[in-house]
Symmetry: D2
Subunit: 122 residues, 4 copies
């Protein structure tokens, strides 16, 4: 990731222009954007559903290109939704990460994928 | 979004540390990460499913906080998946946006949400 | 619904034959089938994402046909998953409905779509 | 599946009564029901996301019970959506299965999970 446009503000600017040029903002309620985000996430998942683990090798070059495009769609809808709801995604990640660190203390969950509420009480 | 950590590299660094401290990388095949991304996108959608449009006002402050956290989860899984597949998300967005501009020419689709393949031929 | 094949056993028989003829059972782990089910559910949702409410009139005949086919796909994957996990879907529905009746008492939630855990305590 | 209530009409009757008693039909637009279906499918998927294949043994008894309940939720929302759109699910499955048999001829696709459009032309 040494590309120049990896700042979320830049992606938001691209997405805003695309939407404004097509007058599609009228369809972009938070509800509709979260539906579209969910649909794109499933289109991404579709590429992996019958694979063993979905590594680059198992995917192959053509599928990897399609996967990249689905990932782009997911990110664009997420950024558009954040824009509608005035959510600062970077701050939201930091906040959620702090909660996750508290819920899943590293020394308790190391190497274990069970969800926090499934841990036996001390 | 005037916060400092809105660069995807920074979010990736946070996510990598969180995963490494818990030795959870062993579960993070691209297939599993895309499942987790889809699940988080649905948890986000759940907040909107019975609402009319899901504006900030309709959501209310408590739900908006939960929504912010689900959005953070979506972004973290997307960034972790990109990391596994060596995908530059900013470049992927630019590439996909260029394809979208060609598929949905602004002067043809303005104000119309039908998918490009549903447009009548000229 | 006055058609003859509305019994889940009949749908299971159709699905089993289709899968066996193609030797696709090898891909049908419960994990993969639940991914496929989720993907089909999203393909169904895609038809509704930019609509207001998605009535038959708003959908139109062509989209309704596509919607019917996505619904069929959802049901087939659900029945195949039930087959793999020895789940009796009819019994599961009765069991879950009994739980739902206890969680959402009719006289408390009438006309209100908030989830049960959001109800204020008595 | 030797239980008595495996006919889709019976499940529909249970679901209709549950909804009517709570006056929840007002929220059940086709759009909202397809969102809810997608959310329930993802809650089902969540149980499998970090597992290898999700067999009964790998799930364990407690998770299997939760999985059965998520499957019930998926089926109930599917049946409610079919009810709203006057879709005969049994007939839809037969129709879709006939299309699938034509798209994926058994002698061409045996043991191969690639999607039909990825098959090389003859």
């Amino acid at each position: 990731m040494n590309h120049g446009n990896n700042h979320l503000h830049e992606i938001r600017a691209l997405a805003r222009t695309f939407v404004a040029e097509r007058d599609w903002g009228q369809f972009h309620t938070p509800k509709n954007l979260s539906s579209a985000l969910s649909v794109e996430a499933a289109e991404l998942l579709e590429h992996f559903q019958w694979l063993k683990t979905g590594t680059q090798e198992e995917l192959g070059a053509d599928k990897l290109t399609q996967v990249r495009h689905e990932m782009a769609d997911v990110l664009v809808y997420l950024v558009l939704l954040a824009d509608q709801l005035d959510v600062d995604l970077g701050a939201a990640v930091e906040e959620k990460m702090a909660l996750n660190r508290a819920k899943y203390p590293a020394d308790k969950v190391r190497g274990d994928a069970r969800k926090y509420h499934e841990y036996p009480p001390d």
